[in-house]
Each structure stands twice: as structure tokens, then as C-alpha cells.
């Protein structure tokens, strides 16, 4: 191993927040990766001692790209502490806001964050290069520009339902503060259909149900072969096959979803997209043991208070910038001691989407399957949203209200675009006594734990190719961005 070279890669842009990756490279491959989140803000420290409801103002500001998800987790933690449940209208309104943000994230990720790397000069000789550049070049690509415009219109749904985005305060423990009337509902439906039009014309070149109905990879390949340039998903599939994205950045094979879009009581299901742990090894969905979640701080610049691993309900966040052996501000979340991956791929696996299950069964969690799962999720969730809009009963309540006990505990779980997000709240004498946040990218980009086991991205980067002379290896960029990292959430 005398020819090992070390690369320090960063800053990564087109991710949310700050990220640095240290790579050991030998014989053109990454042999070891350390993922560093080089910024700390300390939200868990800021929240202590405040009135519990202040969390509804503070926590959305953890993240400007998934602030509604942070709001939803806080509102659920408070609702759990109060023993209150939103009325059906409130549940639908919150799900609509979550879905607007989630799907906007997928759109932004694909058009602005992931695809531009395929317009780099290193790919100039590939047959798909010119068309990819025409569609996706940063600041110039015609489809990227159209996607940005579609995104702006799409967020107007959230402007109505939430007053503004990011950082709405309309999500409350008892529902949503913004009741919508019958005429507004129709206008929202019109906006939804406009976005669907963009997806069907530009992203898929096909109706949403055709994409969501692709049953396996053979069907996907036949669909692609029928018109390989039509729509951006097909273009991506061609590139993914050419560059071997189905072998790049393998995940740990265990996929965590807390369940997305909680349904109102009596709807027949707890979530529109089911909760669970998908284990690719046995091809089965396992129930979640929430009490087996721990956060390990052995390699984080955080004091351990005598315990390197803690359940988040007992969590501690105290910076220790000089801690020996530490290399990041991120903790290492583990489920029953194991590394898991979270995100759209986990939601689609847990909820039984046949194409994503088939693709993961063949090639595991990879750059290809992560991107595919996001695009399939876009095709699946837009029609669900139309259903939730239709289910709203104008003139029925959107928000209930109830006092919060002075002594209480609560857990708020939700799915952000990037995966499982949990808030653990403890209230004592009417004030926040403990507040711990475990964000999706904390799972995916975790450092090593006490046992030395690398986090999901750290393991996924092992074996990534590095071309001669590359200071910021393009394969590393594809792998990192395939997770759609949100570092500001991670280190909050």
C-alpha cells in the first residue's frame, strides 16, 4: 500500500450545506473514505429551556430545503406529548405540504444537483453528451430552466397552504392553521395538474401511471428502448447503463422508512407509504424497533457524557472541538447496532413498489437505483395528492387546539425527501428539557461508530474509481449526490 494517496475533496456544492470527504486512493480506486460535516450550529442546545411551542418556529430553520419536514416532526413530537391528533382536513393539508416539498426536492435534485455533473468535459466523448448538455448544463440547460420554472409554480401550492416556503408556521400539533375553501381547492388542483403536465411532458415523456406501473426492469428496459431519448428519465437510463451506475456506490442493503404521509384515523392504513425496515438480503419488510435506535458519538466532535451510544430520548449534544479521533460534527445513528440507508429508495422498497424492489434485488442500492426511486416516487405521489385534495371537506375543521402538559415526552417521526427524520422531545416544568434530532443524512453520511464500522456513504465510496489527475473525482461526486445529502440537517 505504498502508493496510497490522500485526497481531501470539498467543498461540495449542489448539496445542502457543507461537506468534505477524505479519500485514500490506491490503484485508481478509493480504499477508504471519511465523511466530514465541517459546520456545527447547535439547535439541540438552542432549544433547551424554551417554551415547547417555540420548536415550531426554531426547528424549520434547521434546513431551508426540507423545512416543512422539520416542522412536521416538531408538530408530531408536540402532538405526541399532548395526546392530540389533527382532524382529517388538517392531516390532508399537512400531507399536501410535505408532498410539495418532497417532490420539489426530487425535481431540484435531478435537474439542478445530480444531472449537471454529467455535462462535465470528462464525458465529452460519450454519445449522449451533447443532448445531456443541451438539457442539463448548469444555468443554461433548457430542461433545467423549465424545471426551475415548474418548481416555482409548484411551490405556489405551498404558498397557499402554508403562507410561504421555506419556514411556514402553519403546521401545528393539532393540524394546519390555513383552512382552504372550495374555490381554493380547485385552484390547487389546477396547479397540481400543471405540474403533472411538466412531469409527463419533460421528465417522463409518458403518463404518470405508465411510469408508476412499470412492474420490473424488463418492462423498464422495453419502455426505454421504445423511445430512448424521449423524456429525461429515459435519457438518464441510457447514461446510467453506459456509465455502470448500477454498480456504483453500493448501499448497506438495509433500508429504513418511518412511513410517509400519515393517514387520518379510519383511512384504512397508517401511512400512504408504509413504515418498516427493508432487508435486501432476505427480501422482506421488518417491523421497526424504535427503541433500538442509538446515536454513537465516538468519531464526532461531541462529548459523550460517559456513554458513546445513546437512544435519542436520552441524547446529549455538547461540542468538543478537540476530541481525539473525531473527524466530523455528525453523530453515527444505528438501528440495532447496524448501518442503514434511508431515502426515497427506502420508502419505495417499504411500500412495495415493484420496479424499485426488482432493481434493488438485482443490483442493490446504487447511484442508479437511488435516482430511479426518486423519479418513481414523483410519478406515484402526485396522483395521491389529487386524492388528498379531493378528500378535504371545506367548512370542516383544519386545526384543533389543546394545552400542553408541563411534564411530557413526545416523539415526532416523519419522512423528509432524504428519508427518516425523528425528533425526540422532553418537557419539564413547562420548558424544553431535552430535544434531539436525528436527520436522514445523519444516517446516510454517518461517520464510523465505536466498532469502527463506516457509515453508509463511507462504505459506498470504497471502490469508487478515481481517474488520473482528478482532484474532485467525478465518480465520487455521482455517489455523494445520489444520496441527495442535506448537511445542514445532519449537523443541525
Amino acid at each position: 500500500m505504498s502508493d496510497v494517496t490522500r485526497l481531501v475533496v470539498g467543498p461540495f456544492n449542489r448539496v445542502e450545506g457543507d461537506l468534505e470527504v477524505r479519500l485514500d486512493v490506491a490503484e485508481g480506486r478509493v480504499t477508504r473514505a471519511e465523511v466530514n460535516a465541517p459546520m456545527y450550529r447547535g439547535f439541540e442546545q438552542m432549544l433547551a429551556g424554551r417554551p415547547p411551542q417555540d420548536a415550531l418556529v426554531i426547528v424549520p430553520r434547521i434546513c431551508g430545503i426540507c423545512s416543512v419536514s422539520q416542522s412536521a416532526a416538531a408538530a408530531r413530537a408536540l402532538a405526541d406529548a399532548q395526546g392530540i391528533q389533527a382532524p382529517p382536513n388538517g392531516a390532508h393539508a399537512i400531507n399536501l405540504m410535505l408532498a410539495v416539498e418532497n417532490l420539489a426536492d426530487h425535481l431540484t435534485h435531478f435537474y439542478l444537483f445530480f444531472m449537471p455533473d454529467l455535462t462535465r468535459p470528462v464525458y465529452a466523448a460519450r454519445p449522449w453528451f451533447a443532448e445531456t448538455q443541451r438539457r442539463f448544463a448548469a444555468g443554461a440547460g433548457v430542461h433545467a430552466r423549465a424545471a426551475l420554472a415548474a418548481r416555482q409554480r409548484w411551490f405556489e401550492i405551498l404558498g397557499t397552504l402554508g403562507g410561504r416556503w421555506p419556514h411556514t408556521h402553519s403546521l401545528q400539533p393539532g393540524g394546519s392553521t390555513r383552512a382552504i375553501d372550495a374555490a381554493e381547492r380547485l385552484r390547487l388542483l389546477a396547479r397540481l395538474r400543471e405540474f403533472q403536465g411538466f412531469l409527463e411532458t419533460t421528465l417522463f415523456g409518458a403518463p404518470l401511471d405508465e411510469v408508476a406501473g412499470l412492474a420490473d426492469e424488463a418492462a423498464l428496459q422495453a419502455w426505454h428502448a421504445a423511445d430512448p431519448q424521449r423524456g429525461d428519465l429515459r435519457l438518464f437510463l441510457g447514461i446510467a447503463a453506459d456509465l455502470g451506475f448500477d454498480r456504483l456506490g453500493p448501499g448497506p442493503g438495509r433500508y429504513l422508512s418511518y412511513g410517509a404521509y400519515a393517514q387520518p384515523a379510519g383511512a384504512g392504513a397508517d401511512f400512504a407509504l408504509a413504515r418498516g425496515l427493508w432487508n435486501a438480503a432476505d427480501g422482506r419488510l421488518h417491523p421497526l424497533a424504535l427503541n433500538s435506535i442509538t446515536e454513537d458519538v465516538s468519531h464526532a466532535w461531541l462529548a459523550d457524557g460517559g456513554h458513546a451510544q445513546r437512544h435519542p430520548a436520552m441524547g446529549l449534544t455538547l461540542p468538543d472541538a478537540d476530541k481525539p479521533g473525531a473527524y466530523t460534527w455528525n453523530k453515527a445513528p444505528r438501528l440495532a447496532g447496524q448501518v442503514v440507508e434511508t431515502g426515497a429508495i427506502a420508502r419505495q422498497l417499504a411500500s412495495g413498489q415493484p420496479l424499485v424492489r426488482a432493481a434493488v434485488a438485482r443490483c442493490g442500492g446504487t447511484v442508479y437505483t437511488r435516482v430511479l426511486a426518486r423519479l418513481v416516487e414523483l410519478a406515484r405521489v402526485v396522483p395521491m395528492m389529487a386524492g388528498w385534495l379531493a378528500a378535504i371537506q371545506p367548512r370542516e375543521p383544519f386545526c384543533l387546539s389543546q394545552p400542553l402538559p408541563d411534564e411530557a415526552e413526545g416523539v415526532g417521526l416523519t419522512e423528509a425527501a432524504r428519508g427518516a427524520l425523528g425528533h425526540w422531545l422532553r418537557v419539564e416544568r413547562g420548558r424544553i428539557a431535552g430535544y434531539q434530532i436525528v436527520a436522514p443524512t445523519s444516517w446516510n453520511f454517518s461517520p464510523r461508530d465505536t466498532a469502527g464500522t463506516p457509515g453508509a456513504l463511507e462504505a459506498a465510496l470504497q471502490g469508487a474509481p478515481v481517474q488520473p489527475g482528478e482532484a474532485t473525482p467525478v465518480a465520487v461526486q455521482h455517489i455523494v449526490r445520489s444520496f441527495d445529502p442535506c448537511m445542514v440537517c445532519t449537523v443541525h
Binding site: 433547551a48 417555540d54 426554531i58
Partner: protein, 334 residues
């Protein structure tokens, strides 16, 4: 005229001001920038350049090889721990972001704080302020911050504070367009360095709840339609911003969304000294009265208007939808 060359960097914030920027009301964002003489040298969400490519660009700006007209900083500046700046090292450089910002601010023609974190410290500086966060030229409403009270950018202006949490995309773009056109001077800043085109307004202006405000017909719980000033902590009559006349995301604002204005454009909004969702009062009278309004007037007017509140306004104030519609008169309007 040469385009305004803009460099946008993020430090101790949430990235929400960038995300808000991308919601600007335009059919073609890059074309709108170009048409108005704005050239993004680099922006975290929009640029291809990464890693070593960005670091080279920053070094070119500092060395004068690349002209830098407008340095936009989003997020608070993290001076901790113990003044080392290690709570935010710029990835790939091992150097504190505070150091990069100081060097770049020294060569930029204009320096802009995008959002309340970069302007005052904002949410990042709340409570115990664990990261020693501050703004570029303010720490809450005290001048100073990272660059110091006397800092002037090479163009002659102090830091332009486009405060808001997040800031409105229109506030940022109007400022950049005015700078690009040479139409922005010291008189265009208010006493806190905010662009006056939005800071000389109040959130109260254009609030759809004004009829409820006039009669002090008040919301009592979340989702009620009434005025949120008396019970639910709304500071719209004190907060400087045009949120209810320049709407958010199409047709939104905080008060239209059914929740109180927390005055996120004001220094210190992160620590109001009371729960955000409740109005602090003494003897039943809110402490935070409307800007420019003497207390005695407010008390007299409020009691008078409450006694004159129409039944419709009174009942609708505590409902989440209109329960009493305006009367249909049998005679023509007069």
C-alpha cells in the same frame, strides 16, 4: 454596461435564503438574471464548479485576477469555539469560513448580508448562542459583527442587510438589479442597513385581517380568522417588511397562512423574551403596540372599536372559515 459579478457563499444558516431565491417569480430564472445585468460567478445551488474549482475562484477574487462586484453571504458567521472559527471550516481548505469572508469582503465592491442570520446572527445566534454566531456588520442591533462597525465595502456602502428569515426572493433580486443598474446609494438604506424599498413598509400593510384589526376582533387559537395581534403574538404592526403587499409563493404571507408575524426582518427576533405564539400583556394590554402609536390612543381606540364590532366580524374572528357572510342589503349601496 458590464454585468454585476456576484459570488454567493453560505455559512451558519439553513440554506433557506438560497431556496427562497429559486422561488423568484419568473418564467426563466437564468434569463431574468442575464437580462438585468446580473452574472453569478458562483452560487451553491446553481453552479457546476465544485471543490478545487471553487477554491481557485475564491483565490482569484482575493488576488484581484477576478473582479468581484457583489459578495453575498448567507448564514451567520460562526466565530466559535473560543474565537477560532472552527465551527465552520470551509470544506477542502481547513480554514475558517470567517477568514474567507473577511478576505473576500476586502476586495468586493459591495457586500450583502442575505437573510437575518448574515445580517444580525439570526436564529443561529439564539439562546446561549453556542457557536458565537454574529452577522457581517451587526450582532443583533449592535453594530460590529464580523467585519466591524466601521467597515465600508470598496464601493463605499456598509453591508447591505437584506434581512428576513428567510429573505424574500424579490428583496434580493431588486437589490442586485439596483446595484447592477447603478441605482442604489446610501440613501436607499434604512438605519439598520436594510434596503428601504421593503423596509419602509410594515407587514401590517395589506394584511387581509385588517377589518378584524380595526375592530380588535381577535383570533383565540390557531386557524382562527381574526386579528392575531391581541392574543397570538403577531408583530405585523411593528415589523418592517412588505410581506402582505409583495406576496410569497404566489399568494402567501405569514398572516395569510394563519399564523403570527414573528418580525423575522428585525434584529433580535430570535429571542423575543416570550413564547412566540402568545402576546405578552400588562393588565390585558399588549406590550408591543403598533409602531408610531401612543399607548393611550391604542387603549381608547381599542375599547371603542370592540364595543362597535359588527356581529359578522366578531363571529368570524374565532372561526376558521366565514360563518357569517356579509349581509345582502335589500337596497342599493349608497
Amino acid at each position: 454596461m458590464a454585468a454585476l459579478k456576484v459570488l454567493w457563499l453560505q455559512s451558519g444558516g439553513c440554506g433557506g435564503c438560497s431556496m427562497s431565491l429559486l422561488c423568484a417569480d419568473t418564467a426563466d430564472f437564468p434569463a431574468m438574471l442575464a437580462a438585468n445585468g446580473i452574472e453569478m460567478l458562483w452560487h451553491p445551488a446553481l453552479s457546476l464548479a465544485s471543490g478545487d474549482e471553487l477554491i481557485s475562484l475564491l483565490e482569484d477574487c482575493i488576488a484581484g485576477r477576478q473582479r468581484l462586484d457583489a459578495l453575498c453571504i448567507e448564514g451567520a458567521l460562526l466565530r466559535g469555539p473560543q474565537g477560532t472559527g472552527r465551527f465552520h471550516l470551509l470544506a477542502g481548505t481547513g480554514k475558517p469560513m470567517t477568514e474567507w469572508v473577511q478576505r473576500l469582503a476586502g476586495v468586493a465592491t459591495h457586500v450583502l448580508a442575505v437573510g437575518s442570520c448574515a445580517a444580525w446572527g439570526g436564529i443561529t445566534a439564539t439562546g446561549p448562542n453556542p457557536t458565537e454566531a454574529c452577522g457581517l456588520q451587526h450582532e443583533d442591533d449592535h453594530r460590529g459583527g464580523l467585519l466591524g462597525a466601521d467597515f465600508r465595502a470598496r464601493g463605499g456602502l456598509p453591508v447591505i442587510n437584506i434581512a428576513g428569515c428567510p429573505t424574500h426572493p424579490g428583496w434580493v433580486l431588486d437589490t442586485l438589479m439596483a446595484l447592477a443598474a447603478g441605482l442604489f446609494g446610501a440613501d436607499d438604506l434604512d438605519a439598520l442597513g436594510r434596503p428601504r424599498f421593503y423596509a419602509d413598509q410594515l407587514v401590517h400593510h395589506g394584511c387581509t385581517r385588517n377589518e378584524f384589526y380595526e375592530f380588535k376582533a381577535s383570533a383565540e387559537k390557531p386557524s382562527d380568522l381574526g386579528c392575531m395581534m391581541e392574543h397570538l403574538g403577531c408583530k405585523g404592526t411593528q415589523a418592517h417588511a412588505d410581506c402582505n403587499t409583495r406576496l410569497w409563493n404566489g399568494e402567501g404571507s405569514c398572516t395569510r397562512g394563519g399564523y403570527a408575524c414573528i418580525s423575522c426582518t428585525e434584529p433580535g427576533f430570535q429571542d423575543p423574551g416570550h413564547a412566540y405564539h402568545l402576546t405578552p400583556k400588562i393588565a390585558g394590554i399588549p406590550i408591543g403596540l403598533p409602531t408610531d402609536m401612543p399607548k393611550a390612543w391604542f387603549v381608547a381606540l381599542a375599547s371603542l372599536s370592540k364595543s362597535a364590532t359588527p356581529r359578522r366580524v366578531k363571529h368570524n374572528a374565532t372561526a376558521d372559515h366565514v360563518v357569517v357572510a356579509p349581509a345582502v342589503k335589500k337596497t342599493r349601496l349608497k
